[in-house]
């Protein structure tokens, strides 16, 4: 419970979504542009199949502050290899580095990015039976849209999107996405500054498919969002700060952020979180091995090490995010036992558990254009 208790000002999700890499700023854009065009990587014919076994030192490419350092240290001592880590602060940068020929043994993409990397032929295959602890992985991930055969990804953490609110100021929450416009929150409601979460919530309110690409439906959802913004205080991914410093009464939020809020205030019981009946977006960070890995065997061993139940439990206690594996889920439930609504059981979500999926760049463009129109008007 080291860094977790400090209530870090940024959670990794916020850093991602806020594009805090935005510190790069407009001044940096010139140099960024230089990196976009990548040279083709020599991807081995027929791809790479990893076999668990120590085959060299490990270089992992992860979000900062996202893994208990003790796990790396102990792995290193147990197997006699070095475990080195470098960090990225947005996924686009990670893809860019991989495409430019950067050689890492283990990366942490989201499903949409994993699908994209897989389409580029950049992810190594392996047999799940190589992982001793694979049986502990939540059945929610048995047949995923991005990896139906479970052959190149293992879930690391997951999070749900719902609504956070202050129980001392807002009454009559009903467990629906319409609670965003609960009258008690007028002028103090925030929508996440994330085009998928914002449009997704509106799609669910209107009864559309979460990932609809029908322009007419998106037009209706745009109107829904514009109506909500009349009522809102702002668009922001800083849900933790907005709730802690009293600016927000109602906030569309990721469940992990509420854990942070409750750690930072004197009256944690006031801060509540609900998932919504129209649908619960579930996000996942995955562990994948690039085909360019120098030590794919060690990487596979390391994945097995991370999802080992006792290690998963320690990691959850360290970074505060639930891991969808045996050990990790129990540890998270214990961590948030005073606010059970934060602990979302993936198996119980059933049909209600939804995932964002916009693979075609044209569909993505359609969505980002809607979001730009909402923000610009």
């Amino acid at each position: 419970m080291t860094s977790f208790d400090l209530g870090a000002p940024f959670t990794r999700r916020q850093a991602l979504r806020a594009g805090a890499g935005g510190a790069l700023g407009l001044y940096g854009l010139g140099s960024l542009a230089g990196c976009t065009v990548s040279r083709p990587i020599d991807t081995p014919e027929g791809g790479v199949t990893a076999k668990a076994g120590i085959d060299g030192d490990l270089l992992i490419y992860n979000w900062a502050q996202y893994m208990d350092p003790a796990l790396k240290k102990e792995f290193s001592e147990k197997y006699g290899v070095e475990v080195n880590e470098v960090n990225f602060d947005n996924l686009e940068a990670m893809v860019t580095k991989l495409q430019a020929g950067g050689r890492y043994d283990l990366i942490w993409p989201t499903p949409e990015y994993a699908a994209r990397l897989n389409n580029l032929g950049l992810l190594a295959r392996y047999d799940r039976s190589e992982l001793k602890n694979a049986k502990g992985i939540s059945p929610f991930y048995d047949t995923t849209w991005w990896d139906p055969q479970s052959e190149f990804s293992v879930p690391y953490t997951y999070y749900t999107t719902g609504i956070a609110w202050r129980d001392d100021e807002v009454q009559g929450m009903t467990g629906s996405w319409n609670d965003l416009t609960n009258p008690d929150g007028e002028g103090r409601m925030f929508i996440l500054d994330d085009f998928q979460e914002a449009i997704g919530e509106a799609n669910l309110i209107n009864g559309f498919n979460l990932n609809t690409t029908d322009p007419n439906e998106l037009e209706i959802s745009k109107e829904t969002l514009l109506g909500q913004l009349e009522f809102a205080r702002g668009i922001s991914t800083n849900s933790t700060q907005n709730l802690v410093n009293g600016t927000a009464a109602i906030h569309q939020a990721w469940n992990g952020d509420i854990v942070n809020v409750r750690n930072q205030v004197d009256n944690p019981e006031v801060f509540q979180y609900e998932t919504c009946e129209e649908g619960v977006p579930v996000g996942t960070d995955l562990m994948c091995i690039p085909v360019t890995a120098r030590s794919p065997g060690t990487a596979l061993k390391f994945i097995d090490w991370i999802i080992q139940p006792d290690n998963a439990a320690r990691n959850v206690n360290w970074n505060g995010y639930p891991q969808p594996v045996d050990g990790g889920q129990e540890a998270f439930a214990e961590l948030v036992k005073t606010a059970p609504s934060i602990d979302v059981d993936l198996e119980q979500l059933g049909e209600g558990g939804l995932e964002y999926r916009l693979e075609d760049p044209d569909d993505r463009r359609l969505w980002t254009n809607v979001w730009t129109e909402v923000k610009a008007s």
Binding site: L32, E92, D194, N245
Partner: protein
């Protein structure tokens, strides 16, 4: 070897540095602005004007006008706040002049993003400003400061004020104090002396300050992102979203190029006016 030849040699490292790290990326940005993103979301160089057509979508006009409005307001407020500060330091700073200037500049060594985060904590509903007002009995409950256009302009003023003060201070320093004395000798009131003597003498400093504040403020995205509400979206936010959210670098590049051309007009206007000024001040 002539002195000029001697010094030109020292231009080389800086020139190469600028060419490699500024001019080349700028050319890449320009090239990319004619490109598109392929099916895998990668930016591809090409030659078509689609991005530029999109950039002139009427949808973005309110965003541009808002950015200009915020930047003009920022420059005006910076001028009103900055001139008296510069004037005081230049005229009455005495031995402490350099100390006072250092005190102004040192806070600006802290990253702008970090300083703006501090404002989030200050202006929040339960933040320092609101709790201060309440404990003084001035307000009953928290008033909305953050997530408003005023907070965004406030953040911009805070971010760029020093760029107004320094050029005005420099022009006041350059001014010959005896002409103010002359104004007084001719029985002008202090106000009229200021209006007819000091102000015209520092016009170039004011102009330089306004340009130095206006240009970065128009393109700023930090203030609107952290302090803004639903109706404060600026052109900088639009461009940033193209790069980091929409993953549409070619369109982001096109917007950047359009923005740079637009801002260059202001810059050229400023340079021409200061050149004219310089010519006029040469005694005939």
């Amino acid at each position: 070897m002539s002195a000029r030849g001697f010094w030109s040699r020292f231009l080389l490292p800086g020139g190469v540095w600028l060419a490699l790290l500024f001019v080349v990326p700028l050319c890449l940005l320009l090239a990319l602005s004619f490109g598109y993103t392929d099916d895998l979301g990668r930016a591809v160089y090409a030659f078509d004007f689609d991005n530029y057509k999109d950039a002139f979508d009427p949808l973005y006009i309110p965003v541009l006008l808002r950015s200009i409005g915020f930047a003009v307001a920022t420059a005006a407020i910076c001028l009103l706040l900055g001139y008296p500060i510069a004037y005081y330091i230049a005229r009455y700073g005495g031995k402490r002049k350099h100390l006072l200037i250092a005190l102004l500049v040192i806070p600006f060594f802290v990253n702008y993003l970090v300083r703006t985060y501090a404002w989030v904590a200050l202006l929040a509903d339960d933040g320092l400003v609101n709790s201060g007002l309440e404990s003084l009995g001035l307000t009953e409950s928290g008033i909305q400061l953050i997530n408003t256009p005023y907070a965004v302009i406030g953040g911009l003023v805070y971010g760029y004020l020093v760029f107004m003060i320094l050029p005005i201070y420099a022009s006041l320093e350059r001014m010959d104090p005896s002409i103010v004395e002359a104004g007084k000798d001719l029985f002008a009131t202090p106000f009229r002396t200021f209006l007819h003597v000091t102000l015209p003498q520092t016009k170039q400093g004011i102009l330089a300050g306004c340009v130095l504040v206006f240009l970065p403020a128009v393109g700023d995205f930090v203030s609107a992102q952290l302090l803004g509400g639903p109706d404060t979206y600026m052109i900088g936010n639009l461009i940033q979203d193209q790069f980091f959210t929409a993953n549409n670098w070619p369109f982001g590049s096109a917007l950047t190029v359009v923005m740079m051309i637009f801002l260059s007009f202001w810059m050229i206007g400023y340079l021409r006016s200061s050149a004219r000024e310089a010519r006029q001040s040469v005694p005939a």
